[in-house]
Amino acid sequence: DSGDKKGLTVGFSQIGSESGWRAAETKLARQGAEAKGITLKFSDAQQRQENQIKAVRSFIAQGVDAILLAPVVSSGWDEVLGEAKAANIPVILLDRQIDTPNVDLYLTAVTSDTIEEGRVAGRWLAGKVQGRDCRIVEIQGTVGASLVANRKKGFEEAIATAPNLHLVRTQSGEFTRAKGKEVMEGFLKAEAPGSICAVYSHNDDMMIGAIQAIKEAGLKPGTDILTVSIDGVPDIFKAMADGDANATVELAPDMAPRAYDILLAYRKDHAPPPKWVQTPSKLYEPDTAAAEYARRKDLY
């Protein structure tokens, strides 16, 4: 194959555009490609695995130089990745891992550790409330989405070590602001007034909805009820800066640029990269929120 960087064509099969976070990931993928002189073939799968498989097949048919895949589910990729391999096209997984006995099918995976994200959130909460008794409600993502089980599992692991933390209610907010708000309203009604001490949300959008619900119920989010969520979208930093939220665990959206670097390095020296390039799951608190907001608001 040609080793020149110029004229490199990369196909990117994105899950869809269901959230601001994902829009940011796509945006960074495009910007990064432009910066590195890569021609990016982008395909939006609209949340469907079959569309992703179709896209990967089309990429192969077009003879791209590499494929980025943000898989919507963890299993079911062996066949199509096998085809890519047979065609000698390296595949880099973004954002989510896949479940396969044959890790040779892809070059590497650039993802965060989603269980760890839950753990970070749980550990922060345990530290925050110290020994105080705390009844927690959880707003989880879409039932069946691949992150949900892990973010739940990690969080539960972390709070299991602290006997004073109790997860009392969990309901799905389907990753959306509106549903997050509705679910939180329900929690506030269903639990005895003042008895909820913290909310854990699987993403920031739902948390922003929940914060509004808490406010509308006449309580002070961040004070009366602690909040911790995952993603690190600009609006949650704004909320933290305003004192309405307590913590967020960042899921860095710059997965594609990292993948480009790996890819270019690989094409240069043909040394296989590590199978998992883990992105950090950093926790942010209000102290840095204003600065972080300023840094991010144009990124999204």
């Binding site: 940011a24 969990t170 799905s172 389907e174 602001r177 009604k189 269903a190 509004q212 509308e216």
Partner: protein
């Protein structure tokens, strides 16, 4: 006053099945969350479970108000969910671009109008089957909304726009007032003017209606435009509620809720008779059940199954086959009792 009673009484009587369902759904809520029926006044606004249901149900109420006449013409509007998303996005983008809030509101409503006009054109002039005609906008419309927001949630701080969902009129949240006012206005338009008769005539026999001089194209166009307008209003409420336009998720699958509400309201999907009031009741029934499911504290994996069972029960209760069956069952029970 007497006249009011005379017009309302038969309607209430016709709405007995829906009222029964609503009461049942509210009862479930009471069981799930004691204190559900409590109402309290705070800062000049009523709070309580009933208000929540009205407030949360407002968007679907509006959609159902627009959907009922559409279904009565033997049509269907699958695009209302995305019209919500587009209009919300337009409003948010407009205020964020510095447009005055009244203009932003008008722009959002105009968006709904244009979308409805497009649907109406395809159905009435181009003569496409309504499902297909509105499917086109359903597919493309979400993209249009995302084009406006670039896939982000467009958060806004314009107080007047937020007030669409956040303010209070006569102790009720504004969305509730808006939804009720829209149903009242639509009801008036439909029954006090002749539109209702034309809609029902076109829905049952378009050929006869045309021969009788009814402007069928205009009637069809109007109902889709109205549906678009109602959806735009619902979209404004949804955006104002979360202070942001979420083009990706606003109104997602709500068209199905609206259709369900209209059907629970007793309108046949084969066109003909329809009732705005009962469709609104249908929307409330749905919201009450959804609220109960959300608050029951059961694992979320069960949500869909519960929803399915609830709708199945509603369908059974409404089915014409159910009444004699229930009567027979009751009779048999009575017999058994008598024998025992």
């Amino acid at each position: 006053m007497n006249a009011l009673i005379r017009t309302l009484a038969p309607r209430l009587k016709a709405a007995r099945p829906q009222l029964a369902l609503l009461i049942l759904a509210l009862l479930v809520n009471v069981i799930v969350a004691p204190g559900f029926l409590d109402l309290r006044m705070q800062d000049g606004r009523l709070f309580g479970g009933l208000i929540d249901i009205l407030n949360r149900g407002a968007p679907v109420m509006l959609l159902a108000v627009g959907m009922a006449p559409v279904i009565a013409t033997r049509g269907i509007d699958l695009s209302v969910g995305v019209i919500m998303a587009i209009s919300g996005a337009v409003a948010a983008a407009a205020v964020n671009a510095g447009l005055a809030w009244p203009l932003a509101l008008l722009a959002a409503l105009a968006t709904g109008l244009v979308c409805g006009l497009w649907n109406g054109l395809l159905v009435a002039v181009f003569r496409l089957q309504p499902i297909v005609a509105t499917l086109i906008l359903m597919v493309a419309g979400r993209g249009i909304a995302q084009l406006v927001t670039e896939g982000r949630i467009l958060t806004f701080t314009e107080p007047h726009l937020i007030a669409v969902a956040g303010s209070t009129v006569a102790a009720l949240p504004l969305p509730v007032v808006l939804a009720l006012a829209a149903s009242g206005l639509t009801g008036l338009l439909v029954r006090a003017a002749a539109l209702g008769l034309f809609v029902e005539a076109v829905g049952t026999n378009p050929r006869s209606s045309r021969l009788a001089g009814v402007h069928t194209g205009l009637v069809l166009g109007t109902v889709y435009v109205w549906s678009g307008l109602m959806a735009a209003m619902a979209g404004l409420i949804a955006a104002a509620d979360i202070r942001g336009a979420d083009a990706n998720n606003a109104g997602l699958w709500l068209e199905l809720d609206a259709i369900l509400a209209v059907v629970i309201g007793g309108t046949s999907l084969y066109g003909g008779r329809f009732s705005i009031g009962r469709s609104v009741l249908g929307a409330l029934v749905l919201q009450a059940m959804r609220t109960a499911i959300l608050r029951a504290g059961l694992p979320p994996e069960l949500n869909l199954v519960l929803m399915a069972l609830v709708v199945a029960a509603v369908l059974t209760q409404q089915s014409p086959a159910f009444r004699p069956l229930a009567a027979r069952l009751a009779a048999r029970l009575k017999n058994k009792e008598a024998r025992a």
